[in-house]
């Protein structure tokens, strides 16, 4: 759906985006992560046709995309991080949405507007001036505006920033339900725990370079140094920790109450070996689970700890 080839943006001598190759598949929720100043905004602005790349290409819906391709822009919906009130301050939510419906030539605009406003619980304030809207209400209104023309792809920049827990859940549910209906979602956020909940694939950009792009589970696996297997027993017999430590694939063992925490290499699955080892000793595992690293940990790893080492992790960098 969106493919970039060596996408580069240079401001004077500063390279903001350096030969970035993205590949966003139809129907997926694609997370785009990066710390401030990593080149995230420049990349998104190029994808939206707001700024032109210095070099490289963008392919959108199978066609070469340039800022002048207004026909392709019509197929995109955008929710910016901050919703500017500007010229619309004096308008009601419905008037505001009608203005955009006019621009996008939306058929049966009034029905669609009311339907979408109901989905985000804004139907009651449809005739309220948007200058009186709270940040959360503006964010939801912005999502409604972006969905008004039924876009093929929805860009969301920090969609839940500044929302209360209920608002976060509503927006999250809306993103998931829109995706289930087949809409491709491109989401950029610094709230990594939320990204982990909704994204199918993520890309991490750092210092203008794409450090990694993969499925969420694969990426987390790639970025974890070791695996940690947690086994809960009724009680931990004496000497068992030392015996487990002697196993050739075990890196380290520790305990926490009735839980064994066993570190193993990230390559390979050792859960079966450990189960068999314990059963042979008449120890029944009450619970066995593998603890994977969180996206937040992966993000920190990639952006702080091992920049040089990880330059090749994603393969696409």
């Amino acid at each position: 759906m969106i493919v970039t080839k060596d996408l580069t943006k240079q401001y004077g001598n500063f390279i903001a985006v350096d030969k970035v190759n993205l590949n966003i598949q139809p129907g997926e929720i694609y997370g785009f992560l990066g710390p401030n100043g990593a080149g995230k905004t420049s990349t998104i602005m190029m994808l939206l046709g707001i700024i032109s790349p210095t070099s490289g290409e963008i392919e959108l819906f199978g066609e070469r995309y340039t800022p002048s391709r207004l026909d392709l822009r019509k197929r995109i919906g955008v929710v910016p991080e901050k919703h500017p009130v500007g010229m619309w301050a004096w308008m009601t939510a419905v008037e505001y949405l009608k203005f955009f419906a006019d621009m996008f030539v939306v058929e049966n605009a009034e029905d669609r507007i009311m339907n979408l406003l109901s989905q985000v619980n804004l139907a009651d304030v449809a005739n309220k001036k948007i200058s009186e809207f709270s940040r959360g209400m503006l964010q939801k209104l912005s999502i409604v505006r972006a969905l008004l023309h039924d876009p093929d792809i929805l860009f969301l920049d920090e969609p839940i920033s500044g929302l209360d827990p209920i608002g976060i859940k509503q927006v999250r549910d809306l993103i998931i339900s829109e995706n289930r209906e087949g809409r491709t979602i491109f989401v950029s956020s610094h709230l990594l725990s939320e990204m982990e909940k909704i994204c199918h694939r993520v890309a991490i950009i750092f210092r203008g370079k794409l450090m990694a792009e993969d499925r969420m589970d694969k990426l987390l696996l790639k970025l974890s140094r070791d695996r940690e297997i947690h086994i809960d027993l009724e009680e931990i017999p004496e000497g068992i920790v030392e015996n487990i430590r002697k196993l050739d694939f075990v890196i380290d063992v520790s305990t926490e109450k009735n839980r064994l925490k066993i570190k193993v290499p990230k390559e390979g699955d050792y859960r079966k070996n450990l189960s068999e080892f314990l059963i042979k000793r008449n120890l029944i595992p009450i619970q066995l689970k593998e603890r994977s690293i969180s996206l937040e940990e992966a993000f920190v790893t990639i952006t702080q700890d091992n920049v040089e080492m990880l330059a090749g992790v994603g393969g696409e960098a």
Partner: protein
């Protein structure tokens, strides 16, 4: 479908509605009519049995002296040859033209600063759609304003037993094209700058520069200006809306209608050129501050 045209239409529709319901237009209209009323009233008060006598009205005397000093006595005689309406047209219309141009320049800068312009361009629109819409809105309100002025002047002419002469009508048409060119310069000022205040300063600077150059051709320094910068002055005059206004009015004075029409055509070409330049500048600079 032409997406730019469609989005320009949608934005223009909204801007026209917005201007209609805001007090700014009505205040500017009232001030313009009031200024026109004073000019006409002063003219009527300055008429005695021997004809027009500026000294009968202190404001008129001051105006006539100032204009004679700046442009010469012949200019003043020509200006009032058909009565007060030609001068009233200038006095009523020019402030409105500046009000409309400056408010559009301000809005462009403001919308750019708050990111509203960028939000529009996420859809099937670009910066050009926005400034074209703004330009269309200015055109519409210029025409509305001139129509109101015409009605007002016509009624006052009937009441005061005066006439609206041919020079007045020719100049009124000329004013439409003159305003388009000024709005064009407003757009150029907007796209060249990052803030509303710098855009307004640039626009006023450009307008003042053209007025000074044009006034220079009437006054004592005209010879100096002409001799000092033969090439520069030649270039400047072709990009000055005031030069075309002067050319058109002079042509009518000589009865040269084709030259009058040509001056309006050249104003249109100048406006088109300014909008094209603005489009190209926006393509390079974008709508982000």
């Amino acid at each position: 479908m032409n997406y730019r045209l469609n989005s320009t239409g949608a934005i223009a529709k909204r801007k026209i509605f917005e201007t209609f319901i805001s007090p700014g237009f009505y205040i500017a209209l009232s001030i313009g009519l009031l200024l026109g009323y004073f000019v006409i009233g002063g003219f009527v008060d300055s008429i005695d049995s021997s004809g027009l006598n500026y000294s009968l009205n202190s404001i008129y005397e001051l105006i006539a002296r100032s204009l004679s000093g700046a442009f010469g006595e012949t200019f003043v005689i020509k200006l009032f040859a058909e009565g007060p309406y030609l001068f009233a047209l200038f006095v009523s219309f020019i402030p409105f033209l500046f009000y409309l141009a400056i408010s559009s320049v301000f809005k462009f800068g403001f919308e750019k600063k708050v990111g509203a312009l960028e939000l529009i361009t996420y859809g099937p629109a670009d910066g050009t759609s926005y400034f074209l819409a703004s330009f269309v809105k200015d055109m519409v309100f210029t025409l509305i304003y001139l129509m109101v002025l015409l009605v007002f002047f016509f009624v006052s002419a009937l009441i005061n037993n005066l006439v609206l002469g041919p020079m007045f009508f020719y100049t009124t048409v000329m004013m439409i094209f003159l305003s388009f060119a000024f709005y064009g310069y407003g757009v150029v000022s907007s796209v060249l700058t990052d803030t509303a205040s710098s855009a307004i300063a640039l626009f006023l600077g450009i307008a003042l520069f053209f007025l000074i150059i044009q006034m220079g051709s009437f006054t004592i320094v005209s010879g100096y200006v002409r001799n000092l910068s033969t090439v520069l002055a030649w270039i400047i005059k072709w990009i000055s809306p005031v030069f075309y206004l002067d050319l058109g009015m002079s042509s009518i004075g000589y009865g040269n209608v084709p030259m009058y029409l040509l001056s309006m055509l050249l104003l249109l070409v100048l406006t088109g050129g300014l909008l094209l330049i603005s489009h190209l500048i926006l393509k390079v600079r974008g709508v982000r501050v």
